[in-house]
């Protein structure tokens, strides 16, 4: 397998909303290599989340091809995709999206419930992931007992607990204060540099983007060529 982990060609996603067609993403060609850390930037509504969702196979493209980790996502069935995502992709949301009735440990254990691991192993893995994000002392805490930054770190632990190759983050610091954001960004960098995770991160924050190895811009659904920015950008 080549070290190209994400490769899309003419990837297009259209939404029909109130009889109007919205082209959220048009003919995007994106290539991401193993161990890369790419930041996606662009104005609101430019298609950043859409590109991320298609990469995680959370939605199907209208046209174009997408190959992630050697799998042609268009050819996989829904259930095969669910299994594939569980194993290979971690996703981090802007609004954390922890399950409120579960503790930090149980939240992190959740993706492992879909694997063949036994209860003891699952707990062990989940605790390890939580220690990795610096929350080894907070295993039994519920989301409402944690700060925003801590919640996001639990969410990151949940995203990496299955040891996926790719970590996709959609504005992971968007809901955080500067200090928590800094901690989360440091954590994501560590995951990239020390654990070799391939990372694609959507962000509005130029400071956050600087943690990435390179930045790609989107504008009005178009993925701009490497190195170029939208005209009125900063």
């Amino acid at each position: 397998m080549s070290d190209l982990v994400i490769s899309t060609s003419k990837l297009t996603k259209e939404y029909i909303r109130d009889e109007f067609k919205v082209v959220a993403l048009r003919d995007a060609d994106l290539e991401v290599r193993r161990g890369d850390f790419v930041a996606l930037m662009g104005p609101s509504g430019s298609g950043k989340s859409t590109l991320l969702h298609l990469t995680a196979a959370m939605d199907r493209p209208t046209s174009g091809t997408i190959n992630v980790l050697g799998s042609d996502l268009n050819s996989l069935s829904d259930s095969a995709i669910a299994r594939w995502r569980n194993r290979h992709v971690g996703f981090v949301f802007q609004s954390f999206n922890l399950i409120p009735v579960l503790t930090a440990l149980e939240n992190v254990e959740l993706p492992l419930k879909l694997t063949h691991l036994k209860k003891g192993e699952r707990i062990q893995h989940a605790a390890t992931a939580l220690r990795l994000v610096g929350l080894g002392e907070r295993l039994g805490h519920f989301p409402r007992q944690l700060s925003g930054g801590e919640e996001q770190r639990v969410a990151i632990a949940r995203a990496i607990v299955t040891d996926p190759d790719i970590l996709l983050c959609d504005e992971p610091t968007g809901n955080l204060d500067a200090r928590s954001a800094q901690e989360v960004l440091a954590l994501i960098s560590t995951l990239n540099k020390e654990h070799g995770k391939t990372i694609v991160m959507v962000t509005h924050d130029p400071h956050a983007a600087h943690h990435a190895a390179r930045i790609r811009y989107l504008d009005k659904g178009e993925l701009l060529p490497d190195g170029s920015k939208p005209q009125d950008w900063n």
Binding site: H53, A56, M58, D59, D78, S79, A82, R83, R85, N86, R87, F91, F93, N97, I99, P100, V101, L102, E106, L110, P111, K113, L114, K119, R158
Partner: protein, 386 residues
């Protein structure tokens, strides 16, 4: 099974709502349980052990028509009949007929034969002997005795209405039974013989037969009726159990009434819990999107929601069942509306049916929201804001 903790926690998510749902489910299922127990007792229960050998012969046209006394000897000759006794409904008025409390059955019985047929009715031997010896003697059931404070040796006067004479009776004994009703007064048939002599009014209201075995009952019924088919007083013979049920039809079509109440109750709980489940799933659309992002399959999501709803329904059902069983106990203690209420309880088939209904309500109420949650597109689910 590894999802059980998640399912339980989802149930407890909105405690007040879950408690209210469980409460309404248990109340309805309790009601359903008692109704079904009653229905079962009436239409499926079958006769109690002692009753299984008893047969009743009456006039084919109506219970109010009489049959000649000599039928007894002819019936006695039918193979498999061990004993035959005459019953005669006296009616009459005790004290004041305007008071409902003063109404109870008053029947002339053949004292010597009767207790051979009703072996499950218990009476002290000396009281039984005294009853048989005294042509103006009577026995009363334990419940009736308790109601009026009757004691052995008391005098009772019943004014005649159907018959042109009064009954001046002495209580010779008190009988008890655990199976049937004991709210009755039985007086010695000799009283009627002495009062009516050989007039045509001396007749039998019904005959009660004791069959050698329950298997003989259907054949005996056929043979007895054949015996009198062409006489001026043809008969209708059936098991005592069936005979008892035929009285219930006087109360209207109980079967249909019970069935429709059961149906209405089930339908109502179904609507209530469907509404609750729809609400509770709707609040979690985003979460379903998150679970799917983590790799949960549509089928797993469907299963999780159905299991949650099923669990709530089963808890409601279990509580309802327990309370229903308790209510049956209370009904057993109360006055017998029909004999069957004396032994009312949740029988295994009713138990199974209630568990089935609970499960059905759990699954049916959640199937629509669960199905649409399972099928929903992840991105749409994550964009959902409430």
């Amino acid at each position: 099974m590894r999802f059980l903790p998640l399912i339980v926690k989802n149930c407890l998510r909105n405690r007040r709502r879950s408690v209210l749902t469980v409460a309404s489910l248990s109340i309805s299922l309790c009601l359903l349980g008692v109704l079904m127990a009653l229905y079962y007792a009436l239409f499926f229960g079958g006769p109690a052990k002692a009753q299984a050998r008893r047969i009743v012969t009456r006039h084919k046209v109506s219970i109010v028509f009489q049959m000649p006394i000599y039928y007894r000897e002819q019936i006695r000759k039918v193979a498999g009949v061990e004993e035959v006794a005459i019953w005669q409904w006296y009616g009459g008025v005790y004290k004041d007929s305007r008071d409902q409390r003063n109404f109870f059955p008053r029947l002339g019985v053949e004292a010597d034969r009767l207790f051979k047929i009703y072996q499950d009715y218990r009476i002290p031997e000396d009281q039984k002997q005294a009853f048989m010896r005294d042509p103006a003697g009577c026995v009363v059931g334990r419940s009736l005795a308790n109601r009026f404070g009757f004691q052995v040796g008391d005098k009772i006067l019943i004014k005649g209405d159907i018959f042109p004479f009064d009954l001046d009776l002495t209580i010779r004994g008190i009988f008890e039974t655990s199976e049937g009703s004991d709210e009755a007064l039985w007086f010695n048939f000799k009283y009627l013989e002495n009062a009516l002599h050989d007039s045509s009014r001396l007749a039998a209201g019904t005959f009660t037969l004791l069959a050698r075995s329950p298997e003989d009952v259907p054949r005996i019924c056929r043979e007895v009726d054949a015996l009198f088919a062409n006489s001026p007083a043809p008969t209708k013979t059936e098991s005592e159990y069936a005979f008892g049920l035929s009285f219930l039809s006087f109360l209207g079509n109980i079967k249909v009434i019970l069935m429709s109440i059961c149906g209405a109750v089930t339908f109502t709980i179904l609507l209530i819990s469907a509404n609750t489940m729809a609400m509770s799933v709707r609040e979690r659309v985003r979460e379903v999107g998150v679970l799917k992002t983590l790799g949960f399959q549509a089928g797993t999501i469907l299963w999780l929601i159905l299991a949650e709803s099923g669990l709530i329904a089963m808890i409601g059902g279990a509580i309802g069942l327990a309370v229903a069983q308790l209510l049956c106990l209370v009904i057993r203690q109360g006055p017998a509306i029909v004999d069957q209420t004396k032994t009312l309880s949740i029988q295994p088939p009713v138990f199974a049916a209630l568990v089935g209904v609970s499960l059905f309500i759990g699954v049916a109420s959640a199937i629509a929201p669960a199905w649409s949650a399972a099928r929903q597109n992840i991105v749409d689910a994550l964009r959902f804001t409430d």
